[in-house]
Amino acid sequence: MDRRTFLQASLGAGLIGASGGLAAPAIAQGAAKKTLKFVPQANLANFDPIWGTQYVVRNAAALVWDTLYGVDEKLQPQRQMIESEEVSDDGLVWTFKLRSGMKFHDGEPVTAKDAVASMVRWSARDPMGLMIRGVQNEIVAVDDLTFRWSLKKPYPKMLLALGKNNAPCSFVMPERIAKTDPFTQIKEYVGSGPMKFMAKEWVPGAIAVFEKFGDYKSREEPSSWLAGSKRMMLDRIEWVIMPDPATALAALQNGEIDWWENPISDLVPVLQGAADVAVDIADPLGNVGAFRMNHLFPPFDKVEVRKAVLTAMNQEDYMRAIVGSDDALWKPMPGFFTPGTQFYTEQGGDILKMKNLDAAKKLLEKAGYDGTPVSCVVAQDQPITKAQGDVTADLLRRMGMTVDFVATDWGTVGARRASKKPPKEGGWNMFHTWHAGADCLSPAGYNALRANGEKAWFGWPSSPKTEEGITAWFEAADLEAEKAALAKTNAAAVDDVVYGVTGFFLSYQAWRKNVTGVRKGPLPFFWDVTKEA
């Protein structure tokens, strides 16, 4: 074969391939109608909702695994996999009965043994679960559908613990999977939820696929967040990972994706102007901006210095740095609990309204601040932490503090914040983060508020009064007692500056208008979502 013949043959083969390719049906029309393409907030890099507690894992897990209880829009836990429960008069023995007929995705029935093994694994990782373990006698399966959890001391928040949407949720897995060590990742993704995880199609960082589970036994009650009916109107959901917001924006405008969980605020005006795109608040419970000060080392080991920062700060500066000029997206927050919810209180929060730089400088002087550098570790790859870090660095400098601004990435912050070494030896004085408002509704799952010293969250604050208030809430018998406990908690936590709240902010979600049923909530709920062709 000479060169010319070879080239002609190659060209011919290419054309044949191309024409064959063009004729090949990529996706059948009928299937396309029921497939929803969703861009989640982050990459689904692992899929064990107990081992890894990132929100994105929790959100995907809610499709695949069901929970014993689920909180509804009123933030009340409702029965989900549970048919009925009984609690003994002394509050020490809880007996739970599962609904009959529920199946796992491998066709096996859901039994009490599965629930028990799942609760054992969950309770080893969840803060409320650990509290239950602390007062637990035993948890045992009584029969195929019944299990009993007996305690040494009453735990009034049992149903909330089993139904809350804070990660890790009490997802029920088959016993063989749930017996995996809670600090080791599971290898099978078999749930009893409304969608099956298509592990073979999973390309971490690119796509995760879920397909409808035909044998899912939905509840009959109306759907409400994690409670009630979970009817799936879609056959297939594809989570498409898009690292670049501008690409996601263009793809949504072009109809290549259907739903974008968290468009960045800079791009929202473009989406609001697009004819075929709907935009609305994603989660009414929003987010709480935060900076943590390290209570172990100077200068923030002194409460006067911590108070000086609160006295000087203006939450509006932080919020505008995060959300821009859209006033509908933020609120000042002179407290620790999510605004607009039942436990929100401003008790003791006046210091967060002062915005008084001169008073702050006097406090610093009184505290004897000697120019010790503040090692402020700021993740530059997270827009929220970067924005807050820039505002704080400017604030501290204006107060007259020396700032060692450590610009780094979130992976480094995650490691460094765990260090209890002095800042000069690789520790830190300050880092920024944020919490989902759903995590800040009450002390249930609100790790950041704990102030039990060495056992507390990063920064290791010690505030006995805050801890007393939290304990009183867990033991409270009624709503009034709960509110009173949390008002005291709030005042104590502000007074000891457990951490710095920078404000409350919301974010948007966006979807194509041919998609209906999208709701506001702390996680994307896919049940009842439909898509027109």
Binding site: G52, A167, F183, M242, A250, W410, A418, N447
Partner: protein, 313 residues
């Protein structure tokens, strides 16, 4: 020739060993902790520590290095800390898009840049030459992501000719595959075109001033034959060299292009892995890239012997 190839392939082994040691050590001393990322923002310090122990990240450097080295020698790149999937599986999932992107980019770049450089040299100091070199400067100086956004806006959003993002595997047909690759490949090719066109022009200018070209012209040889047979063949060595060097440029450019066009390739895989500190994945992909680069250099050396018979190894 076979013995040359064999010796060169053997010589890649110590190179890969050095790369392995370097990558492992670099990751060891780099700040960051995958356990903290896995545990999530609400995790307690104790949880993070338990996960770190579970992953074996608390063990001494040498123990971890030699374990990993033994694994590599067995052909096992390990398991991703995050996904629990074998690194080889993750790489296999991502090879096709990146390879496709690089091949199409290379075809576009060479197909445009070489004729452009030849014509620019032929028409040196005319408006054609200046336009070509102006285009090359534009290609060099415009960041890949800017070009990507601009052409996606024009050809995908406004004209609707191509998709904004995504990759269609070749198994679904050459047409859809090519359709999904045109915009990212053109984006990535731009800088490559600039590089090759400039080198081609310079090499051709040198060759075209040689006596044998003048002799060819005097003998009445046609312009096309002078340029593409006598000229280009003799200017090929630097051009082939720069194409080889450019593969490294392509790998770097692929990282950005894959992000802009949401292509699930190796570039995105390694960026994600770096951000999460997924050490086995980073090590595996860097080793692969190094191996590919060594192979490309070997290929370039072999091509030299075809384009210039005077070169012998």
């Amino acid at each position: 020739m076979t013995s040359i190839v064999f010796r060169r392939v053997l010589s890649t082994i110590p190179v890969m060993g050095v790369v392995a040691l370097f990558v492992f050590s670099l990751l060891y001393i780099a700040p960051g902790d995958p356990a903290a990322v896995i545990a999530g923002d609400q995790a307690s310090p104790e949880d993070v520590e338990r996960i770190r122990q579970g992953l074996g990240l608390d063990r001494p450097y040498l123990v971890r290095f030699f374990e990993w080295l033994l694994q590599i020698l067995r052909g096992d790149l390990g398991v991703s800390i995050f996904t629990n999937l074998p690194v080889t599986t993750m790489i296999a999932q991502r090879v096709e898009p990146t390879l496709s992107l690089m091949i199409v980019t290379l075809i576009i770049a060479v197909g445009v840049a070489v004729p452009m450089g030849v014509v620019a040299a032929w028409k040196a100091d005319t408006w054609i030459d200046r336009s070509a070199m102006g285009f090359a400067v534009f290609g060099f100086s415009t960041p890949v992501f800017v070009v990507g956004y601009l052409i996606a806006y024009l050809f995908a959003l406004k004209l609707g000719w191509f998709p904004v993002q995504g990759y269609v595997p070749i198994a679904r047909g050459v047409g859809p595959w090519l359709h999904s690759l045109i915009l990212p490949s053109v984006t990535l090719a731009l800088v490559y075109i600039a590089l090759i066109a400039r080198i081609t022009r310079a090499a051709m200018l040198d060759v075209l001033s040689q006596d044998y070209i003048r002799t060819a012209k005097a003998k009445g040889v046609g312009q096309r034959q002078i340029l593409f047979v006598h000229g280009l063949k003799n200017a090929a060595v630097p051009i082939v060299t720069v194409i080889g060097i450019g593969v490294a440029l392509l790998i770097g450019g692929a990282v950005v292009t894959e992000s802009v066009f949401a292509i699930p390739g190796l570039g995105r895989l390694i960026v994600d892995a770096i951000l999460r500190r997924d050490y086995p994945v980073i090590q595996g992909v860097v080793l692969l890239f190094s191996f590919v680069y060594v192979l490309v250099n070997l290929g370039v050396d072999l091509v030299y012997t075809f384009v210039d018979p005077r070169i012998r190894y």
